[in-house]
């Protein structure tokens, strides 16, 4: 499940370009446990946040191979081994006839598997996220919200606040759920 952190700092920006510039500064300042909550994906954000490319394509490749093996296994098992039938003297292992189903099974496994794993990855392959009730910051509407979690090894509340303000963020807000959200 998604890790959450009870303490951290939020600050928001109004334009994707500002968010990108801020992300690069946060990355360069050495913060690790930070994230941007945005209404739409920003091109170039991965690099600005210092992330590697997503590993989902490797999952897709493996699943596609599984789909191919499944379809080939099923068709050859049925048509050659379990119940071979003679259709006009044609070979039992009629591989060209097995191609359409092999293709469909490949797409089926790869597409559905990738979709499910991407959704799970979005929840698990992440840094501690802000508590759910504090997420309503407009990040699904028109705000680009920077979150730095207190779990970051560099964390120091006063310094973090000064740093986020120095980025030009608006609505900077120190969060400590146990002690109540600070304005």
């Amino acid at each position: 499940m998604m890790p959450t952190s009870t303490t951290g700092i939020l600050g928001h920006f109004y334009e994707p370009a500002d968010a990108l510039a801020a992300a690069a500064k946060v990355r360069d300042a050495g913060w690790k446990h930070f994230d941007f909550l945005t209404p739409f994906p920003i091109h170039g954000m991965e690099a600005a946040m210092g992330q590697k490319k997503s590993w989902i394509p490797y999952v897709t490749a493996v699943l596609a191979l599984c789909g191919i093996l499944f379809a080939q296994g099923l068709q050859n098992y049925v048509m050659v081994w379990d119940w071979p039938m003679n259709f006009g003297g044609k070979p039992f292992a009629a591989w060209p006839a097995f191609i359409p189903i092999t293709f469909e099974a490949m797409v089926f496994w790869a597409a559905l598997g990738s979709a499910v794993i991407a959704i799970i990855a979005g929840k698990t392959d992440t840094i501690p996220q802000p508590p759910p009730m504090l997420v309503k910051t407009g990040a699904t509407i028109d705000r680009f919200v920077l979150w730095i979690s207190a779990t970051d090894p560099k964390w120091n509340a006063a310094e973090a606040e000064r740093f986020v303000r120095s980025l030009g963020a608006d609505g900077v807000r120190l969060v400590d759920v146990k002690g109540g959200a600070d304005a």
Binding site: F40, P41, E46, V107, D125, T126
Partner: protein
């Protein structure tokens, strides 16, 4: 001004001001020449918050009278479908028009027709995504929903065509107590099961993945705690975290890349149902591309029909602009010519092959007892879309609407011509016959439209009909941002 500053979407325009031609910025080019930028995709100077409100509004209020009227009509037709299907199962296939020699009738025609309708949705969402056609963002959500509902309609027909629909599960290869008796994997009919079910489920996954961020938007706008909880669960607690966007975008690209060959494979396999038989008029290598292009053609016509309603009744004019409609009209013109070319090629090959039967079938198609079906098909599909050579016609809402309906009539008759004319006069003149739809065939055909429109009308009530997060991404931040820039705020204060 640099190219970046002359952002293509920066200009605030109203829908009526769109011309479909690029805006020329004199002297703004990199070397002092003119710079041409496209017109904005979203008109009316909308902000990101406006997008949320305009699109979610329909799902957040009590339905309008017009919606209730439309829904009642759709539901009545759905009732006709349900009643006809019950009658069909009770009385048997005798009430349908199929008989010797025409053993494939309206059910197969409707199946191919509906699957074809679905193809435009995947084309818009996947192929246009890979080609970076940003205008797709306004229409892709509704078009993908159309795909799902069209596949749902299509799925009914092969099952009822079986005659004994309660044995439909025999088509699925699973270890069973009947031998086990397996399906024949050499048969295109078995390939169809895999193709259609894969297509339906992958389209669903693609559509749902695209919906996730928008469901979160609906959740964040919701006031009722149950509504909030429901949409939160449906969006899997989406927060817009960029660490999630990273995987999301990768998966979305992969789904587009997989859906693209999938959409071509599905109608190819449907065409194999015909092409791998030895019937003259069916046994041709042209069938796969001919079916695929016809599917895209009819699907785009259906998208134009639906978008006309969405522009008119749902006030989506700012998101689905005349420029969007014109772009779709261009695709209709292009695919219409491809379809016309395929019709002509078939005739040429029938003559050039020197096959007596092939030649007879095509003469019989165009000039035999079903000449009227062929004439409707050729007129609606190859001739009428030619009006879209004129820009004024491509931007005329009524013309677009009428042509889109006619194209779908023509495409239904294309399948009618293919299925019926090849079968009704085969190799043996003593077994020739005629085919006509019975009242139950008509009831099931029109009833399937009831199912389609019922599902579509429910969709527009509960989900965002335009892909909010994608539309936001193609708007200019300077226009769309939530709070005015500091400079603008200062200017307002001074005034």
């Amino acid at each position: 001004m640099t190219r970046h500053e002359a952002s293509p979407y920066a200009t605030v325009m109203d829908d009526g001001q769109l011309t479909g031609r690029p805006i020329v910025l004199a002297g703004a080019g990199p070397y002092g020449g003119d710079l041409e930028v496209p017109e904005p995709l979203v008109t009316g100077g909308k902000t990101w918050a406006d997008v949320d409100r305009d699109i979610c509004m329909h799902a957040e209020r009590f339905p309008t009278t017009r919606w209730w009227i439309a829904f009642s009509i759709a539901l009545a037709f759905l009732g006709v479908l349900v009643f006809s299907l019950i009658t069909l199962f009770y009385a048997g296939m005798g009430i349908a028009g199929v008989n010797q020699p025409v053993g494939w009738g309206s059910f197969i025609i409707n199946f191919v027709f509906w699957i074809g309708i679905g193809h435009a949705g995947t084309l818009i969402s996947a192929v246009l995504f890979l080609f970076r056609q940003q205008w797709r963002t306004g229409i892709n959500r509704a078009a993908e929903a159309m795909t799902l509902f069209a596949v749902a309609c299509a799925g009914i027909f092969p099952i009822i065509h079986l005659g004994r629909a309660w044995f439909a599960y025999w088509l699925v290869p699973y270890p069973n107590a009947r031998g086990p008796l397996w399906v024949n994997f050499n048969s295109p009919l078995a390939w169809d099961i895999f193709a259609i079910s894969t297509y339906g489920l992958v389209s669903l996954a693609f559509w749902y993945v695209g919906l996730l961020p928008d469901l979160a938007t609906v959740r964040d706008r919701a006031t009722h705690p149950w509504r909030k909880a429901l949409y939160n669960a449906m969006s899997f607690g989406w927060t817009g975290s960029h660490r999630a966007w990273r995987h999301y975008e990768s998966a979305y690209m992969i789904l587009a890349g997989l859906a693209t060959p999938l959409v071509f494979s599905v109608h190819t396999i449907v065409s194999f149902d015909f092409a791998t038989s030895v019937m003259p008029g069916w046994h041709t290598t042209i069938f796969p591309p001919y079916f695929v292009i016809g599917a895209i053609f009819s699907g785009f016509a259906m998208v134009i029909t639906l978008m006309t309603f969405m522009r008119g009744y749902f006030g989506m004019k700012h998101y689905i602009t005349l420029n969007h409609m014109e772009a779709m009209a261009k695709i209709l013109l292009f695919t219409g010519m491809m379809v016309g070319f395929a019709y002509s090629t078939e005739f040429f090959m029938a003559w050039y092959s020197g096959s007596e039967w092939e030649g007879f079938i095509f003469k019989n198609r165009a000039f035999g007892p079903y000449w009227w079906a062929y004439a409707i098909m050729f007129t609606c599909n190859a001739i009428i879309p030619q009006v879209f050579w004129f820009k004024s016609m491509r931007r005329h809402t009524l013309v677009l609407f009428v042509v889109s309906i006619l194209v779908n009539v023509g495409m239904w008759f294309e399948r009618y011509v293919i299925v019926v004319t090849s079968l009704h006069r085969d190799f043996l003149p003593s077994s020739w016959g005629m085919y006509a739809l019975t009242r139950w065939d008509y009831a099931i055909l029109f009833g399937s439209f009831g199912l389609f429109f019922t599902l579509f009308l429910l969709f527009v009530r509960v989900l965002p009909v335009v892909a909010i997060s994608e539309v936001k991404g193609v708007m200019d931040p300077k226009v769309a941002r939530g709070t005015p820039t500091r400079a603008a705020a200062a200017a307002i204060q001074e005034a």
